[in-house]
């Protein structure tokens, strides 16, 4: 440092910085230009822009578990079958499927001419490899659980057909082919390399994925049904915060936002299209039947009658759900169980069942809103003293033998839509790892196996009634509502989504277009 008689005071430097700052701000203002510029990009191309949250996981179609991670890979890969909005099966890479008479083998015929985006044709070998990878002994794929105890082996039948051999008859087997991680990958796919070479036979090609920012896609010209895809591309944008998503939607930076209470309160829904699709999940209230107070069936029943189901539908699901009756048959499933009384809040019945007792328990969940509303409802009912323990997802689903979601006395856990019998094997079956109620009923399991094995409608109806009655009576799980997906969508988007809005059974943008 040089000493002079006139040392440069720091203030001058500060003033210089101020000037620079002011300049930067004014330049900033100029740079915005006259147009104002709300909708950045995507004006020239027909790109559908979707908000997602940070997947916080590796992107590999075989092992992705997170919803956002699934969409990132799912736009590129193609399943054998997907579900449409009504819950019906929709052929994709498979064109035809049929079961053997004993229901133990399913043969799936593949579409002719479908190619991966690297130009190699999709063959039965690829399908076999994909399902073998999912169900392998050392598979890390979360999709494996769906096939546990059902799928025995998978083999090619020529180039264009695949034979699935089952352990037991399973009439809803094609539904399993629409599930998690079932996008078909080439036989030589090396796990963990997908982002290096985002291979798939789906509707779009991944152009860029940046962690924390989002992903951009362009239309796959070699898609087997490329003509039906009118979009030039799709853009996924990561938002860390509902507020940010909401603002982005209002500013027209994204085309769609889930219709939640805060969104409904904030935006004028009439300026947008309200779109909805079928059922997507249940939030089950799991009661530990081996521990007080819910080892007592009357306590479980009292609880079931104390819940204001319509209140839950209104407060938790914004009315976008149907009240349920503690059974696992979604309303769009055939057959529907008959003969059960629909439970509604009935305080007299509760008082009678409780007979002066007070049920004290803690509800443990990662679903804050559900927990709060449930607690609020129950604490308003004589005989309930409910505490609430809201955990983060990491805490709730923590690894280990004492993980809260499988061990706490009363838990609220969401389960994506499945077929009724799958729920039985996953959450009612005695040997299931996810049986949070610790419930055991061999009869129910037996009935479910019979149900799976038969395709005869009358028999299925009968079995369904019996299964439902056990679920309704034993009440290890209270199913208060079947939830649906509902979103607001920018009016520039035209067309209807073929499948579910949240793509939980396949990604399908056919028929969607952007109005210029």
């Amino acid at each position: 440092m040089v000493h002079s008689l006139d040392p440069r005071p720091p203030l001058r430097a500060a003033l210089a910085a101020l000037a620079v700052g002011a300049l930067a701000l004014s330049l900033t203002a100029c740079a915005t230009g006259p147009a104002g510029g709300t909708a950045s990009g995507a004006a020239s191309d027909d790109v559908y822009r979707l908000p997602i949250t940070d997947p916080g996981s590796e992107i590999d179609p075989l092992t992705v578990a997170d919803y956002n991670a699934q969409i990132i890979s799912g736009l590129v890969t193609e399943p054998l079958i997907s579900l449409d909005a009504a819950g019906d099966l929709n052929p994709r890479l498979a064109t035809h499927w049929s079961a053997s008479d004993d229901g133990l083998t399913w043969t799936v015929t593949l579409r002719d001419g479908a190619v991966f985006n690297d130009d190699t044709p999709v063959t039965s070998a690829d399908v076999v490899a994909t399902f073998q990878a999912i169900t392998a002994e050392d598979s890390q794929s979360p999709g494996r659980s769906a096939f546990d105890g059902i799928l025995d082996s998978v083999a090619a039948d020529g180039d264009e057909a695949v034979v699935f051999t089952l352990v037991r008859p399973f009439s809803d087997f094609p539904l399993l082919l629409t599930g998690t991680n079932t996008g078909i990958l080439p036989a030589d796919y090396e796990p963990g390399t997908w982002l290096d070479n985002p291979v798939g036979a789906g509707q779009f090609l991944l152009e860029d994925y940046t962690v924390g920012k989002g992903a951009t896609y362009v239309k796959n010209p070699k898609y087997w049904n490329a003509d039906a895809i009118e979009l030039d591309g799709v853009e996924l944008k990561v938002y860390g915060d509902t507020q940010a998503t909401l603002l982005a939607f209002q500013a027209g930076e994204i085309d769609r936002i889930g219709l939640t209470s805060d969104v409904a309160a904030t935006v004028d829904a009439s300026k947008y299209d309200t779109i909805s699709s079928g059922y997507n999940k249940i939030d089950g209230i799991f009661l530990d039947v081996t521990a007080a107070p819910f080892d007592d069936p009357t306590a479980r029943e009292a609880l079931a009658w104390a819940i204001d189901r319509q209140g839950l539908v209104d407060d938790v699901y914004q009315g976008n759900a149907d009240i349920a009756d503690d059974v696992t048959f979604f309303p769009d499933y055939e057959p529907q169980p008959a003969g059960l009384e629909q439970r509604e809040q009935d305080l007299d019945k509760v008082a009678e069942l409780l007979d002066g007792r007070t049920l004290s328990f803690t509800v443990t969940t990662d679903n804050q809103l559900f927990g709060e509303v449930l607690q609020q409802q129950l604490n308003a009912v004589q005989g309930f003293d409910v505490d609430l323990d809201v955990l983060t997802g990491e805490q709730y689903y923590a690894e280990g033998d004492d993980t809260p979601w499988l061990n706490a006395g009363v838990t609220v856990t969401n389960w994506a839509k499945r077929v009724p019998s799958q729920y039985v094997s996953l959450i009612y079956a005695a040997d299931s790892a996810w049986n949070a109620s610790h419930y055991s009923n061999p009869e129910l399991e037996e009935l479910t196996a019979q149900f799976d094995a038969t395709t005869e409608a009358g028999e299925r109806q009968q079995l369904a009634d019996k299964i439902a009655e056990i679920q309704w009576t034993d009440l290890p799980v209270i199913v208060p509502a079947f939830s649906k997906a509902q979103s607001l969508q920018d009016k520039r988007v035209k067309g209807e989504f073929a499948g579910a809005l949240d793509f939980y059974t396949g990604y399908d943008f056919s028929g969607i277009s952007i109005e210029d």
Binding site: D262, L369, N379
Partner: protein
């Protein structure tokens, strides 16, 4: 050093006899004449009273009033929230948790910081070095990450949170107390005590502590503001108060997406936090001027 001077031609009176000595009696009277002290003090008293007394006011911060997201009205002064709870009742009831963790954390911080500062300043040498470098560790750890980890590891009971806030704020207090102790150590009354064969413990507790006490009080007062803010930030991050607690920070977090749609659910808890934090800071400022002369 009295800061009662301005850019105009003014000067401190060099000859004033009792310039640097404590002047307790008149000071409090002077405090009570300042609106910048009395108004915030009244706000704090209000919140303290509310924090204790809300239970007996017939307020229900949890129940469903039957109308959701109702704007402020004569029935619901601050409106209702997304599940129909009365925001006014929740804001009043929320004072309890706001006034629990912040002050508790400050207490821990002050205790810890004062003890460390006293010892570091008195012992100097390697003890001092060790403390200073330990404080650097906390400087190097991002606050938020530190809190996330602590809460993740030890839970979010008020005691853990108070301890975490205490550990966060203690280094700052310790540094200031240490500096103060270094100044006091240069004064001859400490030397006197040593010449008379006084034990270190006594010197710390009876000679030094009373003299750094005003600084301790000021630091504590200043920290409360920060601690209340950090505590509500913790709730905001979902690390402290658990639903359905009416905690302000939690309310701000839960309702943040309603700023446009139902501003009352967010604005009133925010104002509550701000009123408390600002009041505590203003009171601390005034205390500082009075206690530090």
């Amino acid at each position: 050093m009295a800061a009662d001077v301005l850019l105009a031609d003014r000067v401190e009176l060099v000859e004033s006899v009792d310039a640097a000595t404590p002047r307790p009696a008149g000071a409090w009277a002077a405090l009570l004449r300042r609106p910048t002290f009395t108004v915030p003090a009244a706000v704090i008293v209000w919140w303290v009273v509310v924090a204790i007394a809300w239970r007996w006011l017939g307020l229900d911060p949890f129940g469903d009033t039957g109308t959701k997201l109702a704007p402020p009205s004569p029935e619901h002064w601050f409106g209702t929230d997304r599940i129909g709870r009365d925001v006014f009742a929740r804001v009043l009831a929320g004072a309890e948790s706001a006034l629990l963790i912040g002050p508790l954390g400050t207490f821990v911080a002050t205790l810890l910081g004062t003890a460390l500062g006293l010892v570091a300043g008195y012992r100097r040498g390697w003890v001092d070095q060790l403390f200073m470098r330990t404080f650097d560790v906390f400087l190097a750890l991002p606050t938020l990450i530190f809190l996330l980890v602590i809460v993740g590891a030890f839970g979010s009971s008020p005691l853990v949170l108070a301890a975490a806030i205490g550990v966060l704020f203690a280094p700052g207090i310790a540094r200031i107390i240490r500096a103060e102790v270094l100044v006091e150590m240069g004064k001859d009354y400490v030397t006197s005590a040593r010449v008379q064969g006084e034990r270190a413990r006594w010197i710390l507790a009876r000679e030094l502590l009373p003299n750094v006490w005003p600084q301790v009080a000021v630091q504590a007062a200043l920290s409360i503001g920060g601690a209340v803010f950090v505590a509500s930030s913790l709730s905001f991050l979902g690390l402290a108060a658990a639903p359905p607690s009416p905690d302000w920070g939690l309310a701000v977090n839960e309702n943040r997406a309603y700023l446009q749609g139902a501003w009352w659910t967010l604005v009133f808890p925010t104002l509550a936090i701000a009123s408390l934090v600002v009041s505590v800071n203003l009171v601390a400022d005034n205390l500082k001027e009075v206690l530090r002369g």
